[in-house]
Symmetry: C2
Subunit: 363 residues, 2 copies
């Protein structure tokens, strides 16, 4: 039985056990008009501890920050059994090294997080406005995301779905796609000028050659757009053996990344349906290989590696919110320099000399 120990609306914080489900915490906060901002796609099943271990993002982290930004303090168990308390209950604090953020994203390799004090934000009070735009090329959709972010319009989400993803969702729903675009961009504003702001986003999409672009203040219409996005993974997982990837590039290279992923798909003659937290430059290409393909593991690995290389060539990273785990360990050398790796391993060694914490994963 996992518990929310404290939900404190005056200090806008919650003290929760690591096993609490993300969506449950957010729902509890909502009762006080508060928001637990990190909303990974898995928020209905993922735990706060899991979010902390991977520094999870999500859709609304574009405006409200990732898990790292929502943590005030931690209680964790070290490899030698000692309990460590980091951070505290204040929004600012600079006593000692930031062990809180050293543990966040450490994938369980430095300590076992038991309890977290997390920051809650005021829940947006304005009725959101939402837009969807269909583009003739995936590059145009990526460029529209760049234009929207750089116009300072501050969407609270800005998601991209490519053609293969949209088709898969339509198939899953037994629907016909009315517009079979190369890519869709779905965005939302929850600011006080949401309607006007979303209208500006639509205008920017049209400037980037969107074929169609709608905006709405109606929550049911908005839900129709957003449910497409939420069904992306279940829909593409039906297409074959799948590997969900997670790379990030500086936003100006998002269009190039998306085009490059399509090139890789062509090269291997496979499909790589891709969704992206476009405003963050964070793409989730899903490598799909037919179930009856005997070389599937090899093809998936090679494809993923080509995607990592592409992200690094654009000065990006091989993982934005999913972590290193097992799969990307051999890429640590590619992204981190020797000095950084040696410091990271030294920290691992002092905290877990016998390597008993999540052995073989991460650093």
């Amino acid at each position: 039985m996992t518990t929310i120990h404290e939900l404190n609306p005056r200090d806008r914080l919650a003290v929760v056990e690591a096993g609490v489900i993300t969506a449950d915490l957010d729902q509890a906060a909502a009762e006080y008009g508060l928001l637990y901002a990190p909303d990974p796609a898995s928020h209905q099943i993922s735990t706060i501890g899991g979010n902390l271990a991977t520094n999870a993002g999500g859709l609304r982290c574009l405006k409200y920050g990732v898990t790292r930004d929502a943590v005030l303090g931690l209680e964790a168990v070290l490899a030698d059994g000692r309990v460590i308390r980091t951070g505290g209950r204040t929004v600012k604090g600079v006593v000692g090294y930031d062990l809180t953020r050293l543990l966040v994203g450490s994938e369980g390799t430095l300590a076992v997080i038991a309890t977290a004090t997390v920051r809650l934000r005021p829940r947006p009070i304005h009725r959101p406005a939402t837009f969807a735009a269909a583009f003739p090329t995936i590059a145009a959709a990526g460029n529209a995301a760049l234009a929207i972010v750089n116009a300072g319009l501050q969407p609270n989400l800005l998601e991209l779905m490519d053609r293969d993803t949209c088709r898969a969702v339509a198939d899953l729903r037994n629907q016909k796609l009315e517009v079979d675009a190369a890519a869709w961009l779905i965005g939302q504003s929850d600011s006080s000028d949401a309607t006007e702001s979303t209208r500006s986003m639509v205008a920017l999409c049209k400037k980037e050659r969107a074929d169609v672009a709608w905006a709405t203040d109606d929550e049911n219409e908005a839900e129709a757009f957003l449910s497409m996005r939420r069904m992306a993974y279940p829909a593409v997982e039906r297409l074959g053996l799948t590997l969900v990837e997670d790379v990030v590039v500086p936003l100006s290279r998002l269009a190039d990344l998306l085009v490059g992923i399509q090139d890789i798909a062509r090269r291997y003659d496979i499909r790589i349906p891709t969704v992206a937290h476009a405003g963050d430059g964070n793409a989730h290409p899903v490598v799909v290989v037919p179930r009856d393909q005997p070389a599937a593991p090899m093809i998936m690995k090679q494809t993923a590696q080509d995607i990592y290389r592409l992200a690094l060539d654009f000065r990006g990273t091989v993982t934005g919110e999913h972590g290193v785990g097992l799969l990307k360990r051999e890429w640590l050398n590619e992204e981190l320099d020797d000095t950084s790796l040696s410091v990271q391993r030294a920290i691992k060694t002092i905290l877990d000399p016998r390597s008993i914490l999540n052995p073989g994963k991460g650093i």
Copy 2:
């Protein structure tokens, strides 16, 4: 000669040498409609490297985050002369441990930061609206700050000045204080609904018994309020020997902290003019002792220690944005538990075994 190596408006980042002055970076960013958010009171003289070393805050960190939140990556020199590169150029990234944020706030004790890649935000485009309210007690001002933050109004600054500070500023300016209030609260909104939002803040101040409360959209009037705040330190420094303190409490205890600081002043029969980044619960009490008081150092130390104890009693921290330095080293034991301290010292030892980096300071 220190340099901004790159200012990239498309990726909204800058690559800067540690010696660049904070205000210069923000001014360079402003030319592209961008904001370098951290604005410590010392921004006209403080360097980016100094900000990073202390994880500096400032007025607008209430809305836009502290230095930690503005950093994407670092290049630093380790004690053994090796150069380490941390982080990168993307807004998300979870490869390896967060060495970037381990170095931020480490007060130069782990590495010498040479270059930083910092995140720039869109500069607020709406005309700000500003309010000022005078309160009959300092507790009422603290409670008004709590009410404003918890109403979700998201001021971009919310500053408190007590009576002694206001009087000192008036003296410095050879002005007469029209309203000799126990405390003033000055707030600003730069949202699209700034005028309406600021009006709500004024209403909340009145509800907390403010004697007078004005709001204005006029920048000159706003500047008159804000210049008071900016002159606080120069004004109180004329009063005697001064020690600027820096404690933070959970926001619900801000009023108690402020009242407690006044009690301490009475106990030692000294003045402790106090300003606060009220929205963050971060108070800067300035301990003032007459220059001709022979026991001044002892009184200052004792007073500061009472203030630290008060902050810790309210589950706060002994430093929110200035750091541990020399003065607060003996308080590390009070705020951090033994396990945390031993882990922090182990990290220090592996990175700087001969303790040559900022010896005797911080951890």
